[in-house]
Assembly symmetry: C2
Homo-oligomer: 127 residues x 2
DNA sequence: CGGTATCCAAGCGGATACTG
DNA sequence: CAGTATCCGCTTGGATACCG
């Protein structure tokens, strides 16, 4: 397992928030789980671009931070389900807010991506 | 300069939002600029832990994404000022939201950090 | 099915020195 | 003061194979 070598500074709330939902798949996972997609295999089917390993890593982080909890059914084949904790539920308005802002900005953003090579003529210069 | 080699998928709004404010110092910069701290040297003084170079990188990204704009005064010594664009202003409710959630969660979070080595007894196991 | 081990590429950010 | 060049280490996450 990896071991962090640089201590992080969680002085401001923002850094904590980003620590928790800043991972590449964490917001998606929170969203999926909130919609009732609970089992690892389902989650994986829901995000095929991510490997099992990475999803597990991010699920583990969410679990460690108390955002989700898991139920392990002692059956064969194994069965596991994830749930949002109360804390996780409290994140939903925020993730929706982020999702909405990004969606609103998406048209402009995609335009920018297309025009990447153009000159940066935005800077205002006084003469 | 760095060159991204893996195309990112900006299908959902969330990924766009994280792309824009996900950097280590970007939210801080947005916040500072919104409070009238406009000049690079001021911003640096405001976040001494970050190097000039990194702040510049993140400012540049924010500028490229149209979140901030800059005014270059042709004077000596050089003088530059950053401003939030309309888009940048539209981000403030979101950054405040993130800041607030993180602050609310901070006590629990710090408690978790302290108890890191304890057993993970949260998983519910049915027998 | 769920989870982990191993290996590795890319990204991101820190330190420093330097230019105009 | 503002910005850039260089170098380099840590972290993130992707690919694959394997075990219970």
């Amino acid at each position: 397992m990896y071991e962090k070598k640089i201590p992080k500074d969680f002085d401001c709330g923002m850094s904590i928030t980003l620590e928790i939902i800043g991972g590449k798949w964490k917001p998606c996972l929170i969203d999926s789980i909130s919609k009732g997609i609970r089992r690892p295999s389902e989650l994986h089917r829901n995000h095929p671009e991510a490997s099992k390993r990475v999803l597990n890593l991010q699920l583990k982080e969410l679990e460690d931070y108390g955002v989700i909890s898991k139920i392990i059914y002692p059956v064969l084949p194994p069965k596991v389900e994830y749930f949002l904790t109360e804390l996780g539920e409290s994140l939903l308005p925020l993730t929706r807010h982020m999702e909405k802002w990004g969606s609103d900005y998406m048209p402009v953003f995609n335009e920018l991506q297309r025009n990447k090579s153009k000159v940066d003529a935005e800077a205002v210069v006084f003469g």
